[in-house]
Symmetry: C2
Subunit: 379 residues, 2 copies
């Protein structure tokens, strides 16, 4: 593709009551520019990934808003696609470079969610969902709980295996200073955490977080840059009732298939992946949908420690802690995933570095699977 990631930065994720969205974006952008060794004047265009600025913040026109905040009057765009807003912003940034019109593009994802009552946030998030599910009173934990229930019955997945996703990701999060939760948890703690939507407990669910992440995309490589080998998007039905299956997300299957084709590789080439574990069941389905495990087997593999740091499978999943432990400021998540994989491929993963990672993948989902974005990056 000849698009390179030359700089990345992720802010602290968490309940950042003393930080404004402006401050988060400034920190993420300054960090990414410094990492790329360039200045804000070198940037040709700005893509902002964000979902909730209108509904929660009464602010739109975010492209121009943040261009002004950053002191640059370049073409600027807000890309919205629910929890995949960040990944879709990266995708459009990549396309804009491939178009030849822009040479160096800044992508920033940002979300400020914890300033509002959780019920208000949960209601706003359902703005990503299907009308019928929303009117039926469903929320995202409820939707993923339906998928989990069906999956557990079909594939004999146990609650312990489900819990092992959270245990792994909290362990990884404990190695990431930027993570919302840096505390390891045990299977027992997950199983005994508050029930949210049966069979999902509190510790099966990603949190509501604040945060921002930024990446610098460039048409030319630099010393520490990684290459974008694939950037692929697919959409599926908004509602579960319109799907042939509840144990798989068709958009993830299609986006990953397109990405492997673009990168001319298979799932076996991937050394490290950030996947969309908004709920523990989501990581299990993601690993199967993208070909890392045959259907019905990822839960057992995760529980067996196969994709934990230092694993046996030559694949490590969600080194950042994933949405579960690193946190899930929705517009920032897809950008953070790309930033994390870039760090891993550069060998800059610190305590959570995957040994000799050469090829990495990111997987970002919007809604309960209405849209999926997959990126493949190479050292």
């Amino acid at each position: 593709m000849n698009v390179f990631i030359t700089g990345v930065y992720t802010t602290q994720f968490g309940e950042l009551w003393d930080r404004s969205p402006r401050a988060l974006v400034r920190e993420a952008v300054e960090g990414a520019l410094q990492d790329a060794g360039c200045s804000i004047e070198d940037i040709d265009a700005l893509y902002v990934g964000n979902m909730l600025s209108g509904m929660l913040g009464a602010q739109e026109n975010l492209g121009a808003f943040y261009a002004e905040e950053l002191g640059i009057h370049v073409p600027a765009f807000k890309i919205e696609g629910a929890c995949a807003s960040g990944g879709l912003a990266v995708h459009n940034g990549v396309l804009s470079i491939l178009s030849g019109q822009y040479k160096r593009v800044l992508v920033v994802g940002v979300e400020k969610m914890t300033d509002h009552a959780p019920s208000h946030v949960a209601s706003a998030l359902m703005g990503a969902g299907s009308e019928s599910e929303r009117l039926a009173g469903l929320t995202f934990p409820g939707l993923y709980a339906l998928m989990a229930t069906y999956y557990m019955k079909q594939h004999k997945l146990t609650e312990e295996m489900l819990a092992s996703v959270a245990v792994k990701n909290h362990y990884h999060g404990s190695l990431n200073d930027k993570a919302h939760f840096k505390k390891p948890v045990t299977i027992k703690q997950v199983l005994h955490s508050a029930p949210i939507a049966d069979p999902l407990k509190l510790l099966d669910c990603s949190p509501i977080s604040d945060g921002a992440a930024a990446v610098v995309l460039s048409s030319s490589s630099a010393k520490t840059s990684v290459e974008v080998m694939a950037s692929a998007v697919a959409t599926g039905s908004l509602g579960l009732h319109d799907r042939q299956t509840l144990t798989s997300i068709p958009a993830s299957c299609e986006a990953s298939a397109k990405a492997y084709k673009q990168a001319n590789c298979t799932s076996s080439d991937i050394d490290v992946a950030e996947v969309h574990d908004c709920f523990s069941i989501a990581e299990i389905m993601a690993l199967e949908d993208m070909g890392f495990y045959p259907a019905g087997t990822a839960g057992r593999g995760i529980a067996g420690g196969e994709v934990t740091l230092g694993s046996s499978k030559n694949l490590v999943v969600n080194t950042s802690g994933g949405l579960k432990a690193c946190g899930h400021p929705v517009g920032a998540t897809g950008v953070k995933q790309v930033a994390e994989i870039a760090l891993q491929l550069r060998g800059a993963g610190g305590r959570r570095q995957v040994k000799d990672a050469q090829v990495g993948l990111t997987h970002n989902v919007g809604g309960s699977g209405a849209v999926a974005v997959v990126h493949i990056l190479k050292k």
Copy 2:
């Protein structure tokens, strides 16, 4: 650039209380596909231009939402940039084709505004504006009234000249069946219409409208297609207080300069233009900012009938009726402008056809000038 517009369609604009956003989008898309002589299965990606679906409709994830509504599971994106959302969606659609990843792209702009109390809509629209102006109680009529006041003083523009913009655009709208207002008005009627924000009267202001428009972009030309010669974006400050001037919109100057360079032409090559006349003063500034008139002279030219259909200047402006008479469903406006110019260049303008139009321009603005998009199209 080698991007072609192969099909266009605009729905009725107006107070469409019996039409849902879904129905408007379906009509626009079906019309554009029929015009392009292709089917929905030929489409590789969908760009949706929209501003207010979150704030007014509690619905986001609009890319996937409308992809599902249209029965296609292709990559889909919502592009938001206030009243320039439609133009920015076209721009990103153009870039996506230039990238080589997509060959045929559907761009649809949509807004449903009249189901809400006008005060609620006015407040939501200020989500495009600067925080300080919003907190000061300013609305968009107020912001443009400030510009008009300053401009009138500086350039000795009379209220009659200002009113002539509305008179011209209502005349053009009277020739457009899709227009929100199809009734010609007189200078006297404009001057005696209700004061909104001095010196702007009701008939100096574009209305709150519902509507949708769609265009099919393609990497290859077809029988009736027109070519995209330029697609350029620029941003400026959100607030008026941060500008060097109140009689010009810097983003319009910059976007048009880039567009002329891309298309290797000048303003004198343009035969027909759709410009962002959200308020009468805005059209006057737009024509000067884009080089059609020297500073301070456009009002006199418009009042003299120079850019009215059948004019002396070899340029006709806002044949659709503009935002003023055709209406301003914000996300749809920028797409409708491109659709109108495509019709003109194909000689399909009907009663409002500009004779022998060869090259056309569209100019779409977000906020009070925070972002501007200019497209140049050629027969």
